[in-house]
């Protein structure tokens, strides 16, 4: 029944946008991404997975007024949901108002990096799974904008008020998403991110979030984060995030923290006069990522080292092969994983 409703919703969205396009001189565009993968974890059977088909419907009504929605079909349609559905209204050079359901700009992985055609290593780093619950959208309103500092540097801001994470006392943060309508209390959640680009190759950001997450608004979650990106050349880039959560539970305060560091190098930097060698090296990229999560107790303390190689077929399509070494602090498990992924940005 739920799938039928979503299918009907998609058809209505398409008809709505198409009719608007026909009606006036406006722009309607479908983008998005699709991927499939094969993954195998030690001592477990491997599986093919039609992981994502995420069409994004974009519409421009005026120069300063646009709407967009991303529908998410995961695991061959087992999970269907609206990842975001929002209206962007550019009020001035420095203020844009965003309303609806939007990806939360906490760090950069959640809002910018997680789509598989962008994410250079399949899967999420540990700091952006159970601390910042990537794929995290909220319903609310946001002010955002950027100010130039000289000709290259700039400051940017995102400030938002949203329904916020919601669930039962002590639930994992990842399980608190999806609070699309919040009629339990008026204690809404708020947050923001401030970014600075000191030189064009570098961006540094600081994020915060606070909100009540239980029905009685008696328990709060606070999130703090710092992120950085550095792209010293067209072949090489580095990025990382540090995230820290304080979650109130009955008579206690849980501290959860984690970080990731990632580097990627395109092999096209190697100069060669051999056309054959160039044709092999030019589409290749190697990527390394290390992440950790540190939770109360030792059971959930994890470390993950990932090494991957990407073969770019086009600017938005790639074959990715990655090996993940998973380490547990308490009882070591044989759960390393190998993933082969085929991604296409639409």
């Amino acid at each position: 029944m739920r799938k039928k409703i979503y299918s009907l919703l998609i058809m209505l969205v398409m008809i709505f946008f198409t009719s608007l396009t026909i009606a006036g001189d406006r722009t309607f565009l479908i983008t998005g991404y699709i991927d499939w993968q094969y993954s195998q974890t030690q001592e477990k059977p491997g599986t093919f997975d039609s992981y994502h088909f995420n069409p994004i419907f974009r519409f421009q009504a005026l120069d300063n007024l646009t709407a967009s929605t991303e529908l998410e079909f995961e695991h061959g349609g087992e999970e269907i949901m609206v990842e975001y559905a929002k209206i962007d209204y550019i009020l001035s050079d420095y203020i844009t108002i965003v309303g609806g359901k939007f990806l939360v700009p906490f760090g950069t992985f959640n809002e910018r990096i997680h789509p598989t055609w962008i994410n250079k290593i399949p899967g999420r780093p540990l700091s952006n799974d159970k601390i910042v619950p990537t794929g995290w959208s909220e319903v609310g309103a946001m002010f955002t904008g950027a100010f130039p500092l000289g000709s290259v540097s700039k400051l940017s801001y995102h400030l938002y008020l949203v329904n916020g994470l919601h669930g039962k006392d002590g639930d994992g943060i990842r399980d608190l998403r999806g609070n699309n309508r919040d009629t339990k209390h008026n204690d809404k959640s708020f947050g923001g991110r401030f970014g600075i680009v000191p030189v064009s190759e570098v961006e540094i950001g600081f994020s915060g979030y606070k909100g009540a997450y239980t029905d009685d608004a008696g328990q709060y979650i606070s999130l703090y984060g710092a992120d950085a990106e550095w792209k010293p050349s067209e072949f090489l880039d580095f990025r990382g995030e540090y995230n820290y959560a304080l979650q109130g539970v009955a008579a206690d305060l849980l501290h959860k923290k984690g970080y990731y560091l990632q580097g990627a190098l395109k092999l096209s930097f190697i100069e060669t006069e051999s056309d054959f060698l160039y044709s092999i090296l030019n589409p290749l990229e190697i990527a390394l990522r290390y992440s950790e999560q540190d939770f109360p107790g030792e059971t959930d303390d994890l470390k993950k080292t990932s090494a991957g190689i990407n073969y770019y077929i086009g600017s938005s399509s790639a074959l990715r092969l990655a090996y993940h070494i998973n380490r547990e602090r308490s009882v070591e498990k044989d759960n390393n994983e190998i993933t082969f992924q085929f991604v296409l940005g639409l």
Partner: protein, 88 residues
């Protein structure tokens, strides 16, 4: 303690380099082009899509929306759009 020292020294060196570059860029008055913004800002997250992949109107829509996601200034968005439309 040794790890902390190494970390502090690394952070100090990187911060100093960023701060120095930042201050010099403020006074250098160099003009950044739309192509440079496209490669440095959009290219930080994803591979650059070729300008010919989209029409003028489609680039206008995409750049207007990416201005929010990528925290572009108004001037950067105008320059990137001009670059993409001039080269599609």
């Amino acid at each position: 303690m040794k790890r902390l020292k190494v970390l502090l020294i690394t952070v100090t060196i990187i911060s100093g380099w960023i701060l120095g570059s930042f201050v010099s860029s403020l006074f250098a008055g160099e003009e950044i082009t739309g192509e440079q913004v496209y490669k440095n800002t959009c290219g930080k997250c994803h591979s650059e899509r070729a300008p010919k992949e989209r029409t003028d109107a489609e680039w206008k829509l995409l750049v207007t929306q990416m201005r929010v996601a990528a925290a572009l200034t108004a001037e950067e968005a105008r320059k990137v759009l001009q670059y993409l439309q001039d080269n599609n």
